[in-house]
């Protein structure tokens, strides 16, 4: 033990001492990769005026752009979203909602449509997605929702209700102020944010939006109600997940659109002709030529005895009485 300690002390004295910083050394970054190269060190390049390498930090605008740059809605779903007026009150071509959630929402929207004069069309978009700039929403609303029942069109970002955008169809935008629209969205978003699950948020949002639409309805002239509203053929009633019309119905619709007017006109002409024929026959007058007929059996006016029929018994049919016979020959 005594031998070992002096040996250890002598070995420590043989080791180099730790370097100490000198205030005259140049300050700055030394790029790590420089240590791995055979290039001369900074001191070797030229003393205190050597160029200091600095890492490029991202500028704040770029950071903001990176955060805001969300992926757009995939192109394959754009047609399903924006090509035509939706067939269902709930549009979710990406399948962001589960089947049960989808069914619940459609049921609620159908209930709302049956109870309100203003339909609520909801497009489900991913919380991080954006509508492509090529899609002009206002123009689309104008095109698809300017006819038929008034509607509120909701672009709901699943999981990000604060991004929700609501449009009203042109028929009610005049009656409902922008402030009222904003309040409706705000209150609906607040209700949604009380929940954490995206589906629950959507449910709360829709309920609150439905209530606010009721008040909007009260503001519209004439107080459109579900009973008074003119039924619109294109108004969706099909709570179908796929929202795709059967091929047969599409074919029929195309046929009607193509030939409906022509067939209608032909039918109208036929009905008109038939009506004219009935009217013509009703007002027609029939005459008989008058011939000299010699009197018979002493009758001055008539001797033409026609048929006699007995209806005493159902067993004796008219056919059995066709041959008129004297009564004394007729069986009882």
């Amino acid at each position: 033990m005594v031998f070992w300690l002096p040996t250890l002390a002598g070995r420590a004295a043989e080791e180099q001492a730790f370097p100490a910083w000198d205030g005259g050394e140049p300050a700055g970054w030394v790029v790590d990769s420089a240590l791995l190269t055979e290039e001369p060190e900074i001191e070797e390049l030229g003393g205190p005026h050597a160029e200091v390498l600095e890492a490029k930090l991202p500028i704040p605008e770029a950071v903001v752009e990176d955060v805001a740059a969300s992926p757009e809605i995939p192109e394959e779903f754009l047609m399903a979203y924006f090509s035509e007026r939706p067939k269902s009150l709930l549009t979710d071509p990406q399948g962001l909602l589960s089947n049960s959630e989808f069914g619940d929402c459609v049921s609620f929207l159908d209930y709302h449509a049956s109870d309100s004069g203003i339909d609520m069309f909801v497009y489900i978009i991913g919380g991080g997605q954006d509508i492509p700039s090529a899609v002009r929403e206002e123009e689309m609303i104008e095109r698809f929702f300017s006819e038929g029942r008034p509607a509120a069109i909701v672009y709901y970002y699943l999981g990000a209700p604060q991004r929700t955008v609501v449009y009203l169809s042109p028929s009610i935008t005049d009656a409902v102020s922008a402030a009222e629209q904003r309040r409706a969205i705000e209150s609906s978003v607040m209700q949604a944010l009380e929940k954490t699950r995206a589906a629950d948020q959507l449910g709360r949002f829709l309920v609150q939006m439905s209530i606010r639409i009721y008040w909007m309805e009260r503001l519209t002239p004439g107080n459109i109600s579900a009973q008074e509203a003119v039924p619109n053929l294109s108004s969706p009633v099909i709570p179908n997940r796929k929202m795709v019309e059967p091929v047969k119905v599409q074919w029929l619709r195309e046929l009607v659109e193509k030939w409906g007017v022509a067939v209608g006109m032909v039918l109208a002409v036929v009905v008109l002709c038939m009506g004219f024929g009935v009217w013509w026959r009703a007002r027609a007058r029939y005459f008989f030529p008058e011939f000299e007929v010699e009197e018979r059996l002493g009758g001055a006016h008539a001797a033409g005895v026609g048929a006699v029929i007995s209806f005493a018994s159902a067993a004796v049919s008219p056919a059995s009485q066709r041959d008129q016979v004297p009564d004394y020959l007729r069986r009882a």
Binding site: F291, R296, L297, G304, V325
Partner: protein
Amino acid sequence: MKCPRCVQRIHRAAASCPHCGFTLADADARFGSEEVIIRCLTDSAGILRRRDRERVEAAMERITRRFPQVFVAIYTGSLGEVANLRQFGIWLLNRSAFEDVPLQKPNEAGILLTVDPESKAAGMVFGYLLDPFLEEADTFECLSRAHAYWLEGRYGEGILRVLTHLDAILAKRSGQARRDPEYFERKVMPPAQVGDWARRIRAGHRPVVGEVPKEEPREVVQ
């Protein structure tokens, strides 16, 4: 053409039935020879309800409007036997004065429907104006339409059926008469005399100069 008593075919100008000797005088003896003043719709049996009556009158009016020469009369009453119904029809059309028929329409233009709810029989007779155009089968068809209704005592509906079918038959006959009046005229032409045939045989069946040959009537004797 048949005798209203024995229902045998008679000559179209027979003064009396060659089989039973029936003439209108026999009917006068049974029902009276005085003129009877009645309305076109006389419901002596009281089988028509007010609603039925209105509908029947409307149907009668419709026939009168569509066939300006013709009128329809309906009589309901209890007459006893079916045989009486035939004779009564002829007698009534000859002896009655219909107070709601214009004077310019003689009884020759009448069609009389007689319904006897007691003996459960109905008959139809018509005046000389319609003699060429209506046949017994036509009137039988009309009455047949009402048979099912009358069996159930629905007299009003039955009469309406009769009138509806009568309207159709009259329209058809009128059209036929307009297209071929000669056919109907031949049905009521005076019967050919023996002398006519002899003259034609002597003439060698050649038409006289200036005379248009005529087609032989299809029915000489009925």
